[in-house]
């Protein structure tokens, strides 16, 4: 963490003199999470002080919004708080990222929405935009998380709103989750790079895929990985034209699933490549064996393999 430490003091402050931090990336507070903490505070009180900075005669939260909300709910007069010096805007954001992102699972979109501001502030400070590694060091986020955030940042606004709407629901009730959009966007990116001509208008394709997911024609978001594999047909020397036909149908026909598109286009080629990889690996492994080292069970299995291979080869 590259945040400079500041002077601080611990004191009980009035809950009514505290304001939430407008830069807090955590935008969604689910009722169930607050209920659990409420019970804990009722029973044990606030065990860990919140962090605030002074703003005139009031205080602004750095860390502990849920604890503060619960204390308000429980009509507590005061809450223990570590009062810090007012940080500059960049430090303010980075403090919260480092406090929260390492400790608990935030909703990815809420982080993603704040990242551009951090990137801007770091660029102002350093004169050049931060690299992914620098961003990771400053925010405490893993580089993989930053890449996932970028996929979400680049989504059109209407989809970001859609995700925010979903995030307000309890986890089990969420359908169009961040993970869904991340899987879909990754796959679309691969398709765009490998076969740009099958996606005339990306937004139309998104709409079709979202509708299919809602209708359970696509019943698992992981299936988007098969969509990317269809687009990479060249890698397994599959019929490119067949792959393009399957993708075009997939982006047009409401009942056509990714699994079917995969079967219709590249499934055999990927199976063959898989078989080839295994055979090569087996051959490599066998080269390390002495005849005396083979026990009966292995001999029997090898004989079976030879028989099967012979049948296949003689059928050519």
């Amino acid at each position: 963490m590259l945040v400079e430490t500041a002077q601080s003091e611990l004191k009980d402050i009035s809950v009514d003199r505290i304001d939430r931090n407008p830069d807090n990336p955590r935008a969604i507070f689910r009722p169930a999470e607050l209920d659990d903490l409420l019970l804990s505070i009722t029973q044990y009180g606030v065990q860990v002080p919140i962090s605030v900075y002074r703003e005139g005669r009031r205080y602004v939260l750095i860390d502990g919004e849920r604890r503060w909300r619960c204390c308000l709910k429980l009509n507590k007069r005061t809450i223990p708080a570590v009062v810090q010096d007012k940080p500059d805007p960049l430090t303010n954001l980075l403090l919260m990222f480092n406090i929260h992102a390492l400790r608990e699972q935030w909703d990815l979109l809420t982080i993603a929405l704040k990242l551009p501001k951090i990137i801007d502030l770091l660029e102002q400070k350093n004169g050049s935009p931060p690299t992914e590694r620098e961003l990771s060091e400053h925010t405490g986020l893993r580089r993989g998380v930053i890449r996932r955030c970028r996929l979400l940042i680049n989504l059109p606004d209407e989809y970001k709103q859609e995700i925010l709407k979903e995030l307000k629901k309890p986890k089990p009730d969420q359908l169009l989750t961040e993970d869904f959009f991340i899987e879909m966007e990754r796959a679309l990116k691969t398709v765009e790079n490998a076969m740009p001509n099958v996606i005339p208008r990306k937004d139309d394709v998104r709409q079709v895929l979202i509708q299919k997911f809602k209708d359970r024609v696509i019943d698992n978001r992981v299936h988007f990985r098969q969509m990317a594999k269809i687009a990479r047909a060249d890698n397994v020397e599959a019929d490119r034209a067949a792959a393009q036909r399957a993708l075009r149908r997939l982006f047009k026909e409401n009942e056509y699933s990714i699994e079917t598109a995969y079967q219709d286009s590249v499934s055999v080629a990927y199976s063959e490549r898989d078989l080839l990889t295994r055979v090569n690996s087996l051959v490599e492994q066998l080269e390390d064996y002495d005849v005396e080292a083979l026990d009966d069970e292995v001999r029997r299995a090898l004989r079976k393999l030879v028989r099967k291979a012979k049948v296949l080869l003689e059928g050519e």
Binding site: R20, P31, L34, T42, L72, N75, K168
Partner: protein
């Protein structure tokens, strides 16, 4: 409305709940997430004053009985606050433990309403917590012929008309007293041979009770528990028989009145139970 505690997913429900209760109960203004009393460790989502000096509290939640409400209800009762507490849930959201929570809410006098843009649907009515803290009484603990009246008295009391609830009980006690007096008279269980010179059906209840206290021979009647002490306790409540009281003029007056009526109701229930039990040998 500016919320600091409520999760944003419930803002629309809170707005709909405020509109619903303004229309239903006539609360003019709602405070948002405000303290209703220093000794109540809970800030309901909405609170406002009704025309009859109750505090109407609305807790907006996805659950029919959110955790944490129990201690709030206990605080309200301990303080004796005339609070009518509702939980407002969004329509269309299913609480997986709705039936259990509904039962819990009803047991504690907490109302439940489901609200949406098209209005609200009340699943349980809220009782005034200053009355709902009444000691629990079960009509089934009384002989069958008394149960209906006791049930009526309890419901009337808890549903917001405590003077009428008390009246119903006093009426039952008076009726039993007069039946006992009539039986005593028929069987001549008086201490003196002379029958009392009074109309046991028509003369004031207090006079009948005084006569029983002073002249009833409970040994001959084989009713040792219909003692002087018990008649003195009955005499103590006869003064409240027709006391309908005045409408409270502010919240403090309501709190005082509710506390007084709660005590009266509990005392009357105890007296009725004792009188029924003590008078059993007379078969009235």
């Amino acid at each position: 409305m500016n919320f600091r505690i409520l999760p944003s997913s419930l803002y629309a429900t809170a707005e709909a709940a405020a509109a619903f209760f303004k229309g239903r109960i006539g609360v003019r203004r709602f405070d948002v997430e405000a303290s209703i009393h220093n000794d109540v460790e809970y800030r309901p989502t909405l609170s406002g004053q009704t025309q009859d000096f109750h505090v109407l509290c609305v807790e907006v939640s996805e659950r029919a009985y959110p955790p944490g409400l129990d201690s709030a209800v206990m605080d309200m009762r301990r303080v004796g606050l005339p609070v009518r507490l509702f939980v407002a849930m969004p329509t269309g959201i299913a609480d997986p433990e709705f039936q259990r929570n509904l039962k819990k809410a009803q047991d504690r006098g907490v109302g439940i309403v489901q609200v949406g843009s098209s209005g609200g649907n009340v699943s349980a009515e809220a009782l005034s917590q200053s009355l709902a803290s009444l000691r629990p009484f079960a009509p089934k603990d009384f002989p069958p012929k008394y149960r209906q009246e006791i049930d009526t008295a309890l419901n009337t009391f808890l549903n917001g008309n405590p003077p009428q609830g008390c009246q119903t009980l006093y009426s039952e006690i008076e009726s039993l007293t007069r039946r006992i007096a009539a039986k005593v008279d028929r069987k001549s269980y008086w201490k003196n041979a002379n029958k009392p010179r009074m109309n046991l059906d028509r003369d004031p209840w207090a006079h009948v009770v005084a006569e029983l206290r002073d002249e009833f021979d409970n040994r001959t009647a084989n009713c040792p528990d219909l003692s002087k002490a018990l008649w003195n306790r009955v005499a103590g409540i006869t003064g409240h028989r027709n006391d309908t009281g005045h409408k409270p003029k502010d919240r403090a007056a309501r709190m005082r009145r509710d506390r007084q009526l709660r005590t009266r109701f509990e005392a009357a229930m105890d007296i009725l139970a004792e009188l029924i039990s003590a008078g059993k040998p007379l078969k009235v």
